[in-house]
């Protein structure tokens, strides 16, 4: 991406690579971004595969109310012809598929499976992650989807996941696993094939973690999509005005109860907006990335209509908080 700051990029980045990995620390919305990215690409007309690698049930629930399973299913069809299909990929399943691919069957297959992935994986650094990425590489090669959106594992597991191929290349002697690692590495490090979309919140700790994650991703030689800042309060400059002055200017006489209520909410809102502006400045100073702000929607539980609002924000459609009414409906 062009290293400009404070600009909303156009939406062509979404399909600039075959695979987009959404990555963020716990609770910042990497699953939400994965779902939103998949929807946005489908709205552009792409055939999208949404892959959950960590059994995150919410990823499927946002679309049709059911968790993703290892069996691919349709999640969404767009009038443009685009579509979203979804599936989960577990290390165990990827291991089985890998054995299939290597032509391992019969007794030997049962024996190897009985050894349990845990035991085999213990002796091979990053094996579980590498198997999952290997499966994604197979899906990319199969060419059934224009775009594969992968929700990376959360919390402390993002970097080990993305680094698993590099780690294996350091530790593993020539053989099938090394070949696998080389192929996965080739996919991850090619900007035409993979980009990592980092997501964060406009708060101190998530910003610190996004900066660390960006450094890790760059050190691995992976290319980075625009930075997505989730949960941004809409800019409402009026919150910074004293309530009494705002009421006088509007020609409205407030009861003391109304004034108390507005002072409480406006103070909180103004402080959060200041905090948000400060954290966005820190991101600007630290990261040479274009960035996209996703609005904080006034609901703790996202629904399908919220997903559509977020997808249009991701695609750069102008957002205004008035689109979302307090009763949770969108206009």
């Amino acid at each position: 991406m062009t290293p400009t700051t404070d600009s909303v990029p156009d939406d062509s980045w979404i399909q600039a690579s075959r695979v987009v990995v959404t990555a963020g620390k716990g609770g910042v919305g990497s699953s939400t971004l994965a779902a939103v990215t998949a929807l946005a690409a489908a709205q552009q007309g792409a055939k999208v595969l949404l892959a959950s690698v960590d059994g995150k049930p919410n990823l499927g629930r946002l679309f049709d109310g059911s968790p993703l399973t290892s069996r691919q299913r349709d999640l969404y069809s767009d009038p443009s012809g685009g579509q979203v299909r979804g599936q989960s990929i577990s290390p165990e399943q990827a291991f089985g598929d890998y054995l299939d691919l290597r032509g391992v069957g019969g007794l030997m297959r049962r024996v190897v499976k009985a050894a349990s992935l845990d035991v085999v994986a213990a002796s091979t650094p990053g094996l579980e992650h590498l198997l999952v990425l290997g499966k994604i590489k197979e899906l990319e090669r199969a060419d059934d989807a224009d775009l594969i959106v992968v929700d990376a594992p959360p919390a402390g597991h993002v970097t080990p996941f993305l680094a698993s191929a590099t780690t294996a290349l350091e530790a593993v002697a020539p053989g099938p696993l090394r070949t696998q690692a080389e192929e996965v590495h080739a996919m991850l490090s090619d900007p035409q094939r993979t980009q990592v979309a980092i997501v964060t919140l406009p708060e101190e700790t998530p910003v610190n973690e996004a900066i660390e994650l960006h450094a890790d991703v760059c050190a691995l030689g992976l290319s980075v999509a625009p930075l997505v800042v989730n949960g941004c309060w809409p800019e409402q400059p009026g919150l910074h005005q004293p309530v009494t002055a705002a009421a006088r200017e509007a020609g409205v006489t407030l009861t003391s109860r109304q004034r108390t209520a507005l002072v409480a909410s406006s103070r909180f809102g103004a402080a959060r907006l200041d905090l948000q502006a400060h954290q966005l400045d820190r991101l600007d100073a630290a990261l040479p990335l274009a960035r996209i702000l996703l609005p904080r929607l006034p609901t703790p539980r996202l629904t399908w209509s919220d997903l559509e609002v977020l997808a249009s924000a991701l695609r750069g459609a102008p957002q205004s908080s008035s689109q979302h009414q307090p009763d949770g409906t969108t206009t």
């Binding site: 002796s123 650094p125 593993v172 696993l177 919150l239 409205v252 109860r257 109304q258 108390t260 539980r301």
Partner: protein, 369 residues
């Protein structure tokens, strides 16, 4: 969350527990909650240590501790008058594992510590980090220098990992393949056991012959430890279910967090772990009601901004409280003992300074509204 006025309080919980384990999904302020509980204990005159996990260094953020602090207890000062003491400790999973090996492996220890397979396991074996948080807790418990240990569980793929970690590690060392590998005759085992042959074949095919050699060496050198490790896992498992252990479930009001907290609550009940409190962090404050006819207010004016924000904040705060009410209902319907419910509102500032940490401690100990 609303609480039954007759229910237990956080002050009682901190007074009567020897061990507090905070658990919950990532990004909900688990570490800050652990630190605030520790602070409550220290105020009440207890000698407290808060154990947190190394990689994210979240407690360091919250407490302003220098990043280079090692995994030994570090005294926290500047939190106002405390009758007791507050130490914090950053868990270093690999060092804890090393310490366990040194403790249990005798003269084999050096060989194990230098084995590349061991290094890989210490850093990456599924459950190793979770297990080590618990192992460190056991070490501190045995050392007896503190009378309240607060453990902040590591950010797991799934929050229940922490509970099953001792069992998983024990079952890893008790696995049939592993048992064959460490059997009396390695040479015999290699040719006679199909399981071992399969294992060696798989690893060799996957990763090359050197790794097979290292693995066999590792399993063989660690064989003397198996019994000790399993006993330790059993002891830790018992400690976690003691009467003076309290699990504190930490969540945020967001749907993903609530869903995981419900799942975790079930796992705690099923496993017989003493679940004593649930804390909801990051809850948006509910402003007093304010109704003004929107027709009176010009669009785009400052008052319009203020009204709209009031509406959004109210909608969010109300919906969050409804999510939390569901959680409270489920916990109360599955739990026989008193559970302390506590709701900590999102502060206007981020929590990174000591005074805001003290504010959270105050919120925890405040009587229920």
């Amino acid at each position: 969350m609303t609480a039954d006025p007759a229910a237990a309080t956080f002050a009682e919980l901190v007074d009567t527990s020897a061990l507090v384990v905070t658990c919950g999904p990532g990004g909900v302020g688990k570490t800050t909650t652990a630190a605030a509980i520790g602070l409550l204990g220290a105020r009440a005159g207890r000698r407290v240590v808060v154990v947190t996990i190394d990689p994210a260094r979240r407690l360091a953020d919250a407490l302003g501790i220098p990043a280079e602090t090692a995994d030994d207890p570090h005294r926290v000062r500047g939190l106002g008058r405390m009758k007791g003491t507050l130490d914090v400790l950053m868990l270093d999973a690999e060092r804890t594992f090393d310490r366990l090996i040194l403790d249990k492996a005798g003269k084999q220890a050096e060989g194990i510590l230098n084995n590349p397979i061991y290094r890989s396991i210490a850093g990456s074996l599924s459950g190793a980090q979770e297990y080590m948080a618990i192992e460190r807790l056991h070490q501190l418990h045995e050392a007896g220098e503190h009378d309240l240990i607060v453990v902040d569980t590591p950010p797991s793929r799934h929050a229940v990992d922490i509970l099953t970690a001792p069992d998983r590690l024990a079952s890893f060392f008790g696995h049939p393949v592993y048992r064959t590998l460490v059997g009396p005759s390695r040479a015999m085992a290699r040719v006679t056991s199909t399981a071992t042959a399969g294992f060696a074949w798989a690893v060799k095919r996957l990763a090359g012959p050197q790794i097979v050699e290292d693995t066999l060496d590792f399993f063989s050198s660690i064989s003397g430890m198996e019994d000790g490790l399993r006993k330790r896992a059993a002891a830790v498992s018992k400690l976690l279910r003691n009467q003076d252990t309290s699990f504190v479930l930490v969540t945020s009001p967001r749907a993903e967090a609530i869903d995981e907290a419900l799942h975790l609550n079930e796992a705690l009940q099923d496993g017989g772990y003493p679940m004593r409190a649930a804390v909801a962090n990051l809850v948006h404050p509910l402003p007093p009601a304010c109704t003004i006819d929107p027709a009176l207010v010009r669009a785009g004016s400052a008052l319009d901004d203020q009204l709209r924000h009031h509406g959004e904040l109210t909608a969010l705060a109300v919906a969050e409280r409804a999510e939390l009410a569901t959680l409270v209902d489920v916990i109360e319907s599955t739990k026989h003992d008193d559970v302390v419910f506590c709701q900590v509102e999102l502060l206007a500032q981020d929590v990174h300074a000591l005074d805001t940490l003290a504010q959270i401690a105050d919120a925890l100990s405040a009587p229920a509204a």
